[in-house]
């Protein structure tokens, strides 16, 4: 019979007023995978940060092997064999891959010198097992999000582990990368490691987890064997209501001729040109493997990165775009891939973030000062329309959950009255409820005449939402499926991986 490796009892945590956890109980057993489920902001990460010593609980007890333990710092938790793959990566940008992986747990040789070679070998071996091809000596700042995720994973796996916490490790992984990760997790299970697995993807949960615990608003609202639940049950559990996660209907009727025409976009002389068109009222989905150049392409498109060649037309007129400011004037907005680093002023409130794209709107026409009343009114409208949950208008967006943060970023561009919206991985790390809302939102916008470019690494999403689909590979547009053309997951993957050539 399985004995309890770890017991959390009555764990509570509040952040300056916000109740993140309200006396949560949790039990981990050797050699089993427990799936932790919940909406954005339900408290999953907070609970795990407490378990890994990053946060201190306001109340409650933690028992390891039946003995009570106090985890005062990550260091102490790791000493007890508790390791975590953080949702927000805990990597140092300017240190290289190996240095990051072994940070704080260096292998040392004579006189306590760093045993570089040994560390390189171990790191290489682990990354191979994960199937990640990453240059070991490149600073992680230069790695793509996906590559950074691998480093984060390897970092945790290369430490003495009895309990492994994985906070949304698959958010940026492709399906077979995920499969490889699962194989690794099964090996760990077999060796008696207890695993906590957090994900918003149900198929993954059913594939790997034994038990499931569901949080809502910081409380446990259900637990048991995964086998005893269906996807719909779980969704109802975590959201507290039915969510229809069928995709909203696509564009129908006559196509509009106007839209954004990228005649020639070339980031660097030695890179291929990119050419495509997105029409008003339609969604152009851009698929591709992570690192295929989608983000870089759109960044160049809006002038965030330098472009060697930039020939873009809107309704037949050439756009001169050399900075995001130009793009905004032209009515183009980008919802970046990395909300926290590129999308939000974390210490500012939601209104401050939303309005910054177009403060003129809330200015007194005569004196040009900000009209507080107007500002509050307009930002309230946006927050209401997008159903953003905030405790007050002044709450710092830092303390909002992922889904709500994403909505705030989108609201920024609605406030800027743009007509072309670029969404880069809009649903990364966002729960089903919020996802459904964002899908609906996207369609509302196209209905209002927006042209939308959506970069996504989740095929179902691309298929379910896009009118046209563009597949990128190695910085090049590999295939453009126009509206009406027959698109399947298979042929997208074929073009994305270059499988179509063989």
């Amino acid at each position: 019979m399985p004995e309890n490796l770890l017991e959390l009892r009555g764990i509570s945590k509040r952040f300056s007023g916000v109740v993140a956890l309200d006396s949560v109980d949790l039990t981990l057993q050797r050699g089993r995978v427990l799936a932790l489920l919940g909406e954005n902001g339900a408290g999953k990460s907070t609970l795990m940060k407490i378990l890994s010593g990053a946060h201190r609980p306001d109340g409650g007890t933690i028992r390891l092997d039946g003995r009570e333990v106090h985890l005062r710092s990550p260091d102490e938790a790791q000493a007890l064999g508790i390791n975590i793959i953080h949702q927000e990566f805990s990597l140092v940008p300017h240190l290289d891959v190996v240095e990051n992986i072994f940070l704080g747990r260096e292998r040392t040789g004579r006189f306590g010198l760093r045993a570089k070679r040994i560390m390189r070998q171990e790191a290489q071996a682990m990354l191979d097992r994960l199937g990640a091809r990453i240059r070991l000596d490149s600073p992680v700042a230069q790695l793509s999000v996906a590559e950074q995720q691998f480093v984060e994973i390897a970092k945790a796996l290369l430490r003495q582990t009895r309990i492994l916490i994985m906070d949304e490790p698959t958010a940026t992984l492709t399906t077979d990368e995920t499969a490889r990760l699962f194989r690794l997790m099964r090996d760990l299970k077999a060796s008696g490691v207890a695993i906590v697995f957090i994900s918003h993807h149900f198929e993954e949960i059913f594939a790997i987890a034994d038990d499931v615990v569901c949080l809502r608003d910081g409380r446990v609202v259900g637990e048991g064997l995964v086998a005893s639940y269906s996807a719909r049950d779980l969704i109802r559990l975590m959201v507290g209501r039915e969510v229809n996660h069928t995709y909203p209907p696509k564009a129908v009727g006559p196509r509009r001729s106007d839209g954004l025409e990228i005649r020639s976009l070339q980031r660097k002389p030695h890179l291929p040109e990119v050419t495509f068109t997105v029409r008003a009222g339609e969604v152009l989905g851009i698929a591709g493997l992570v690192g295929s150049g989608r983000t870089k392409m759109v960044r160049a498109l809006i002038g965030a990165d330098r472009a060697h060649r930039h020939e873009v037309y809107l309704r037949g007129t050439r756009l001169k775009i050399s900075s995001p400011a130009d793009a905004r004037r032209a009515g183009i907005g980008l919802v970046p891939e990395d909300r926290k680093r590129q999308g939000l002023i974390l210490d500012a409130s939601a209104p401050e973030n939303i309005l910054i794209t177009n403060l003129r709107k809330v200015c007194n026409p005569l004196w040009r000062f900000i009209d507080r009343a107007a500002a509050d009114r307009i930002s309230r409208e946006h927050l209401r329309n997008l159903a953003v949950k905030t405790s007050s208008l002044r709450q710092a967006v830092r303390t909002l959950s992922g889904g709500n943060q994403q909505k705030v970023v989108i609201a920024k561009w609605l406030n800027a009255d743009c007509e072309i919206l670029i969404l880069d991985e809009p649903t990364r790390g966002i729960d089903v409820g919020a996802k459904a809302e964002i899908y609906r939102l996207i369609r509302e916008l196209t209905a209002r005449g927006f042209a939308i470019i959506m970069i996504s690494s989740e095929l179902p999403e691309v298929l379910g939402l896009s009118d046209c689909v563009m597949v990128m590979r190695r910085q090049r547009v590999e295939r453009f499926f126009d509206r009406g053309e027959e698109v399947t997951a298979e042929n997208i993957m074929a073009y994305a991986t270059g499988g179509n050539h063989v």
Partner: protein, 321 residues
């Protein structure tokens, strides 16, 4: 089902949205202490005396606050101040009327600030090193221009801005008030303010929001140059002479005032009000220690200790792990 949020205690809210309140507390405590040890401290005469002395630093610190809010720093204020003083004084000695001397002085400050701004915003050089360099250049120019001699014997008409008074309040104090209010209004009620705060909060996010961040960085440093000039002109009117060696070390006083005022040295968070409080804290400190007749050497020690104390009191809002 909205997030379970207990309405957070009033004072918590107040402190995190008004970080300067704690600085104010520190200042009040300090004043209390002074009151106890020196009977002369709390005379109207002495208080206006303190205010007048604070004005020099407070005016500079206003511009410094704006720069620091954007996540930058300006070490050149002292030298810029000196250059403005000498140029305006020089021009007046050469026969220019007071108003022209004023304009020349302010112009010098604006120009110097703009140069910093261009180098930092457009050439994208690190602020600390740029202003470290422009700490040397204007000083050198000032000394070169004056040959090291103070420019004395300014026209009486120039005395007003430093020695005159409006509605019974001495001009330095009036000017400090004006500068302070202007900066406060700019930061609080105009879009610019949002951008300046945003720059310190998350520059990249602001840039991607379609804001031309370079312009506002440029603005910040230009304003800092301007305030340095204003402070310099008030001083040279009080001394009735332009000092090529004035303002040495003033950048540190200004920074101290800003940070004591609760503005994050990394930018993004803080307030002009706080800075004024910070400046007064330092002023009261100097004045008080003098009143108590503490020896100059001991003063340094006490001053350091009290700054530490003040910042420690002020730091309690930040402990949230």
């Amino acid at each position: 089902m909205s997030e379970a949020t207990i309405s957070r205690p009033r004072w918590r809210d107040w402190f995190s949205s008004h970080p300067e309140t704690l600085s104010l507390l520190a200042l009040l405590i300090l004043c209390g202490a002074m009151l106890l040890v020196s009977d002369r401290f709390f005379t109207l005469e002495n208080l206006s005396n303190v205010a007048r002395q604070v004005s020099t630093n407070a005016i500079i610190a206003t511009g410094m606050t704006i720069v620091i809010l954007t996540g930058g720093i300006d070490l050149s204020v002292g030298s810029v101040m000196a250059l403005s003083m000498t140029f305006s004084a020089g021009s007046m000695l050469a026969g220019a009327p007071a108003w022209l001397g004023l304009v020349i002085g302010l112009g010098t400050g604006i120009a110097m600030g703009a140069i910093n701004g261009v180098l930092i915003a457009y050439a994208r050089l690190p602020a600390i090193i740029v202003t470290l360099a422009t700490m040397e250049i204007p000083r050198g120019l000032a000394l070169f221009y004056t040959g090291g001699y103070p420019q004395s014997g300014l026209p009486e008409s120039f005395a007003w801005i430093g020695r005159g008074s409006a509605l019974g309040v001495q001009m330095p104090i009036v000017i400090m008030g004006a500068v302070f209010v202007a900066a406060y209004v700019l930061l609080t009620y105009f879009p610019v303010g949002r951008y300046l705060y945003g720059l310190g909060g998350n520059e990249e996010a602001v840039r991607l929001s379609g804001v031309r961040i370079e312009r506002f960085k440029l603005l910040a440093y230009t304003l800092s140059g301007l305030t340095a000039a204003i402070s310099g002109l008030v001083l040279s009117s009080r001394l009735m002479s332009g000092q090529p060696n004035a303002g040495i070390g003033f950048e540190l006083d200004a920074i101290a005032a800003v940070v004591l005022g609760g503005t994050a040295i990394t930018g993004g968070r803080g307030s002009i009000v706080g800075t004024l409080i910070g400046a007064f804290t330092l002023g009261v400190l100097n004045n008080g220690l003098n009143l108590m007749g503490v020896s100059p050497y001991t003063q340094k020690i006490l001053k350091g200790l009290i700054i530490l104390l003040a910042i420690y009191v002020g730091s309690f809002k930040r402990t949230d792990r």
